[in-house]
Amino acid sequence: MTVPRQGRAGWPLWEVFVRARRGLSHTHVGSLHAPDAELALRNARDLYTRRQEGVSIWVVPAQAITASSPDEKDAFFEPAADKVYRHPTFYPVPDGAAHL
């Protein structure tokens, strides 16, 4: 077969989110390369829902995602560690409210 082998000629990266079933939220499952959104959706269908993993797919250009930086981890998340009053544990549960 005379099929020229090509590299990834600049296809952008897409992040894939799949909802496993109604009522659950979309969960990040991985990423893939595709030339545009429509084909990204098809590729996601073929790569990530082969075994009935989902009922709905989102694809998002990876470059559209703004992520927190590992360098900022302390400033972002550390201050929450000693603020126990943020947890709803400081009031009595009324009698008879077993599943509050």
Binding site: V3, R8, L32
Partner: protein
Amino acid sequence: MEYLLGLGDDALVAAQRLGEWVTVAPELEEDVALANIALDQLGAARLLLGYAGELEGAGRDEDALAYLRSDREYRNCLLVELPNGDFATTMAKLLLLSAYQLPLYAALSVGADERLAAIAGKARKEVAYHLDHASLWTVRLGDGTEESHRRMQAAVDELWPYTVELFAADPAAPVDPAGLRSAFLANVEPVLETATLDRPADGWGPDGGRAGLHTEHLSYLLAEMQVLHRAHPGARW
């Protein structure tokens, strides 16, 4: 039985051709997509050939029919046995095949033969996706760069005559292929237009596949597909 062989052999040979792209497709994602489509076609082929073997009643199962018939005994259309060529040719083949299989399976799925209707009902959903996949690529290549447009147009022009065979009248068949052509054109023509491709003129087309008269390409394909089974009968993974 002959009719079922035609359906099953179309799917089997198409699957084998698509499988040739595994590990050499232009992109990893496309590799998986083509393998998925090939396995859909193979799944339909197994059901159809299995049923054909039962109807024949000579004790031949799907493997006997797939691996132990020679090219003259194959009933597939010529379109599916043609070499893959470049990616545009493969997509044009898939477009034409799925645009034909979709109305065919749709008609069979409400037919009188319940077993065949069940097989067609399952295959119809899969083929709808094959048509979608081929349509998207045809549009992107046709309405893409100058080079991709040239190749896509060349592929459609080269393969168009092979669609004549698909719709040769067969009044004895469960679904007369002649009646499917308008649905086929309704699937293909809008795609070609969106892809800025010229719809080739209708004319003479090569045929003979349904009667076992094939191009030389089928023999090579069958040799590769059958060699293991013929050398080691009944071999299993």
